[in-house]
Symmetry: C2
Subunit: 494 residues, 2 copies
């Protein structure tokens, strides 16, 4: 199609993508190799590039071009219509807030971040509370400006999971909550020791093993690489540049192993997007909840299972000879260890979502004005006991543990659980649609699964909203029941 306004939008998207991917490369470098003294100037480079990208994305002309495309009207199921719909969403979101509010929010968050670090160290919620209060106040104002139908929290969700609403999530999460508490209760007593599988696992051996499995999954190392960082992540710096990072513990190989499997899932999604559409919505990942479904699927559904270790045990032992002391069953037991923890990022497959559900309930209550800030630590601790059965000894291990609120990222956490739900639902659909999938996986043949994900999730990009994408792939929008079934089967053996 040759509508001039559409061509202009494509060109502009390309320029914005070039700037974002350049900034992404500088960010990757900042996490991996940047000399310590270079940190302040790097921040200046990044804010310059991001400001340039923001100017290009939000200038009035872009709004005019989008309007012209809307007036023209592309066929409903065309790539062009999907691009225009998503450009509109991004443009409105980026332009509805006055610059003064954006700047004030950034300033408040920067201060809050420093204060949060001190508050967590000293377990001093009172010191952090006024900053969090400011952030909440500005967050509510942002939500009002962005607009919503039912709950102001919807306007926040929209930033991470477009189209998702609070009232859609609540019953799904409530069903998940009840089942997880029940499963966890049944698992009490069945404990695997904390340092199970502890051994001597040299880093080069871990690296070789991780790479072997990532390649078996289908990760293309000619368009990717693995580096070391404190906080593992996946980042895409171009249509053929999908990097992951991990961290190593020489006594616990599982840390880097499942970290790499997880990030490989993210990278496989990015590597499966349409390269010719890179930088446009239809060539971009749908949402965080879909992204996370891909990482969890490969990490947990594929990798954290007995059949997986039966297949890879001898390979793992070649790279990490100390693993010879353990059978495939032993390693699986270690990989499937369940034990409630205070800290979300250390949580296992069963308890992880409980951390998220707790945060979701608290975030919604805060944003909807149903929870006062001064009640927050007590509310956290009470919910934590209800959900995870642990008494939080100090706010550092409780309400202050996580950086995200000080970053102003409300509405972000639920996408983790959406990812888990989507992963289970997609895996079940793939099982039904791909003949003999489980035996192919057991044989280490991952191509049929990857092909199915490519066709159903990766290649569509942002062509559909998440609920339609899930419905097309699985027959219905995101449900809790498939994850519950999966966990019951895996952890309660029935």
């Amino acid at each position: 199609m040759s509508l001039d306004a559409y061509q202009k939008l494509l060109e502009r998207a390309r320029e914005v993508y070039l700037l974002h991917s350049a900034a992404g490369t500088l960010q990757w470098d900042a996490e991996t190799y940047l000399p310590p003294k270079a940190v302040p100037f790097r921040a200046e480079q990044l804010s310059f590039l991001e400001a340039r990208a923001h100017l290009l994305a939000t200038d009035r002309q872009v709004g005019d071009w989008i309007k012209a495309c809307e007036d023209h009207g592309f066929p409903g199921d065309s790539d062009e219509a999907a691009n225009v719909r998503e450009w509109r969403r991004e443009y409105d979101r980026a332009t509805k807030l006055p610059v003064s509010l954006v700047e004030e929010f950034e300033r408040i968050c920067a201060l809050a971040r420093d204060e949060w670090k001190r508050a967590r160290r000293d377990s001093d919620f009172a010191a952090f509370a006024p900053h969090l209060g400011k952030i909440l106040e500005l967050t509510r104002r942002r939500a009002e400006l962005w607009g919503y139908k039912e709950s102001p929290y919807d306007a926040l969700l929209e930033g991470f999971e477009p189209g998702m609403t609070t009232r859609t999530l609540q019953p799904v999460f409530a069903e998940l909550r009840a089942s997880l508490v029940e499963i966890l209760a049944q698992l009490r007593g069945e404990s695997v020791p904390e340092n199970y599988l502890k051994g001597d696992y040299p880093i080069p051996g871990q690296q070789a093993l991780n790479q072997r499995i990532a390649m078996a999954f289908g990760y293309d190392f000619d368009g990717g690489r693995v580096d070391t960082t404190t906080h593992p992540f996946q980042t895409s710096l171009g249509p053929d540049d999908h990097r992951i990072t991990t961290r190593y513990d020489e006594q616990m190989f599982l840390v880097s192993f499942y970290g790499v499997l997880h990030e490989t899932g993210h990278a496989l999604y990015e590597q499966g997007l349409r390269k010719e559409a890179v930088g446009t919505p239809i060539g971009s990942a749908r949402s965080l909840g879909i992204h996370e479904s891909q990482s969890r699927l490969w990490e947990n559904h594929v990798g954290r299972s007995l059949s997986f270790w039966q297949k890879w045990h001898s390979t793992a032992c070649e790279h990490l000879p100390d693993l010879r002391r353990y059978s495939p069953e032993d390693i699986t037991r270690g990989a499937q260890r369940v034990a409630p923890t205070f800290i979300r990022v250390e949580a296992d497959e069963v308890t992880y979502d409980l951390h998220i559900l707790l945060r979701f309930e608290i975030e919604v209550a805060l944003i909807e004005g149903k929870l006062e800030l001064k009640e927050l630590p007590a509310a956290w601790n009470s919910k934590f006991r209800d959900l995870l059965g642990l008494v939080v000894p100090t706010d550092s291990l409780g309400v202050l543990q996580d950086i995200h609120w000080s970053l102003g990222s409300f509405g972000y956490f639920p996408t983790y659980s959406l990812g888990n739900l989507n992963a289970a639902q997609l895996m079940r659909a793939a099982d039904r649609q791909v003949p003999g999938l489980q035996s192919r996986l057991a044989a280490g043949d991952y191509a049929p699964l990857l092909d199915w994900l490519r066709a159903n999730i990766h290649r569509p990009g942002q062509k559909y909203l998440s609920s339609e994408l899930m419905t097309r792939a699985t027959g219905e929008p995101t449900q809790a029941k498939y994850r519950i079934e999966y966990l019951r089967k895996k952890y309660l053996r029935g």
Copy 2:
């Protein structure tokens, strides 16, 4: 000072610097860690960033601001006057060529580069000649547009060594040429075997040793780092981000060792520039000939000497135990081995400049129209025999060996020899001005030398042209005699 136009120029310089340093980071990544499939998109990112920087640097407003500063007239010895002088030089150089010529030149060079690769492989000068002819023709047109007083080659030199002229260089290089040929003749027969010092030098040991020496010289690793690349280089990505690269040969530790010492010299220069003036001329390195003087000084004058190895022998043996087989005298012999080679990049301290002088004479003759392209291989081979005493067996080892001409980089090579001459001249001046310098160096105390270089070369940045910078530091502009003295003393022992 608060002249509005000057403030605008400072702001603009800052923006251009942010873009250049971002592009530099992407370039560094391309040399070190970029996945192979990501190469084409990286080229697109780089050309986008460089085009943006070029637009910012060359728009008409910048010309107006420079004019306003010139009309205002800053005091002759002020930083402002130096900045305005250099901005004028850069602006004129960047705007005097029509965009069509710039684009044509880039296109011709891109084709030539591919053709050169094939031609070198097949030793087929005739295939490369028409491309080189085109490049020469356009290079002469560029020189005419830039303008010059005596030789069109001056306009090319100006791009790498501002203020330098062909007629200034010719007598200096002629003096150097005669002496080098004579020194080389006297050294014939005194040969050190080719694989002298060959041993077992594991890379981690080389890395630790190299880092130890670089730190002793004064390289600040909190604002720098060392990575591995095929072609070693130094790059600065910000006021506190000065990175170097090297390559390792597990049997010949000298390759990475002197490579790192060389790049450390470059990095020390960059780390010694005024950080508060980063991105402006007075906070930037003066020229390639001055830059190269710093790398050669630390690599050769400091590092390639007996007193150096007497100081560091035991440290080197700790990191590379196989070195215990060699005495400090043995290692020095290996480091000072002289043997003519066909390939410039493999040349030693005595013969290196002969390669450069040959290229300089040929480049000047080509640009001034005194040498026909079809005579080039014969001219190369004949000069090569005169200077280095070797008969070139094939154009691959001769006139086709180097990529620079296919890049259109005429006028670049002489800065290597200028670097060598400046290094010797600076070292002699430091010797006279810093009490007990040689004994401090012998004791591994490099601070007095670095301090002298900081004060005399690094901190001035581009405040003065090279000839004035050298005169202020040493009493006279660049001479050949100090390098000749140095080589005679070092290699002829007298």
